[in-house]
């Protein structure tokens, strides 16, 4: 399954499974996604202070949402894990706050296809790979800090300010954002 019809052998296995679900409603690929993400989502929800009785329901909810919304997945903008992370946070906030999390309007597809998709998908994958490497190079304490921010509970944090933003088309901007995040992680050291 997921035999790389998107033109790359370098895409993450999870992204290939999600594409198989998106394009062919492939149940075997969905089962693989379940095996990969269910334990991680359980871990994430446990960390964020959700009672264990509620986590199974939410894990199921997140993965069924992924099955139903797979047509919205764009591998040139996100790897599978980033997309699943977003769904998990959305569902968690909807549940905790009992109100819909405000979500931005979808991007209007225009001048988005000036670059061939396969190269954009690979470029995003490579940039995300570098981000992961930067994450791996952090000290255990620094990594714990990042994990606490992204996986921790949903109580409100103190907000401070910073500025400076990248330019370009949306897809190349995401890659620039990833690059900048990577450098920020590097500067933590």
């Amino acid at each position: 399954m997921g035999s790389g019809d998107q033109g790359g052998g370098e895409l993450s296995q999870q992204t290939l499974w999600l594409l198989a679900v998106r394009d062919r409603r492939d149940r075997e690929a969905f089962a693989c996604l379940f095996d990969y993400y269910a334990p991680r989502l359980k871990g994430m929800l446990a960390r964020s202070g959700m009672p264990s009785a509620a986590t199974d329901d939410l894990v199921q909810d997140v993965l069924l949402t992924a099955w139903q919304k797979a047509h919205q997945f764009d591998p040139a903008r996100a790897q599978a894990s980033a997309w699943i992370y977003r769904i998990a946070r959305n569902r968690q906030i909807d549940l905790i706050r009992r109100e819909r999390r405000p979500l931005p309007d979808a991007v209007v597809p225009e001048d988005e296809d000036s670059e061939p998709d396969a190269s954009q998908i690979l470029a995003l994958d490579q940039e995300t790979g570098k981000l992961r490497e930067a994450l791996d190079r952090l000290t255990p304490e620094q990594r714990a800090m990042i994990e606490q921010a992204y996986l921790g509970d949903l109580t409100h944090t103190e907000i401070r300010q910073r500025t400076g933003l990248p330019l370009g088309t949306i897809k190349s901007r995401i890659r620039l954002g990833l690059e900048r995040l990577r450098h920020e992680l590097k500067e933590l050291r």
């Binding site: 149940r27 359980k42 199974d56 894990s81 980033a82 994990e147 944090t157 907000i159 300010q161």
Partner: protein, 216 residues
């Protein structure tokens, strides 16, 4: 349906975007962030990059064994008809989807505040409030006295103060230390979305007395 392609020059700081992505931003500010991101590709890109980091952290997350029953149940539900959730609110005129969602898809019900200024409160609670403001050209933006953080997104027209001019898509980030007196630019009325973590102030006496009781 094309989002307003404005020259956004006042963006949302990364820390606030990160708090939105990680889910720690209060609802009233999340409405402003999601609305601004609907209009600003720069901030959308930062949000999606932050989500990539979230995905990388999820990959490395300490796993907890999942129940085999859960897998079987989940696979059995794939054929279930897709839940018809409430349809996602769509952009309408100058209001992006996240604002229409707060308005439950209906046009705003403006309340007069005097001097031609109108407001519609979208949400108010212990964590703050978010509202739409309509200010005729040349009028001062009503002071809603911020004790904490305040985010103001311009949807139409413009306002200016000592810190600069804010046009459609721009966000002003104000905190305690900013003593600003924003004034709507001459010309078309300025419509903005303002969120604050300070409790709402009312002009008439009775609601002001009730305010501590109802925490609005």
């Amino acid at each position: 349906m094309t989002p307003v392609p404005t020259n956004v020059c006042h963006h949302i700081p990364d820390d606030i975007l990160q708090a939105y992505v990680t889910g720690s931003l209060p609802h009233v500010f999340s409405v402003v962030v999601a609305s601004h991101v609907s209009l600003c590709d720069d901030c959308r890109a930062v949000v999606e990059a932050q989500e990539a980091l979230g995905g990388a952290v999820l990959d490395g997350c300490e796993a907890e064994a999942a129940d085999q029953n859960l897998k079987a149940c989940t696979l059995a539900l794939l054929d279930r008809p897709i839940r018809v959730a409430a349809p996602e609110a769509r952009r309408s005129g100058i209001f992006p989807g996240p604002i229409m969602a707060e308005l439950k898809g209906r046009p705003p019900k403006w309340k007069m505040l005097g001097g031609g200024i109108r407001q519609t409160i979208l949400a108010a609670g212990a964590e703050g409030s978010v509202r739409l403001l309509y200010i005729p050209g040349g009028k001062a933006v009503p002071d809603h006295g911020h004790n904490g953080l305040e985010l103001t997104l311009v949807l139409q027209g413009a306002f200016h103060d000592a810190t600069g001019t804010f046009g459609p898509g721009d966000v002003q980030v104000a905190s305690d230390d900013l003593d600003h007196a924003p004034i709507a630019n001459m010309g078309e009325p300025c419509v903005c979305l303002a969120a604050t973590d300070a409790p709402l102030r009312f002009r008439s006496l009775v609601p002001r007395l009730l305010q501590p009781i109802f925490r609005i």
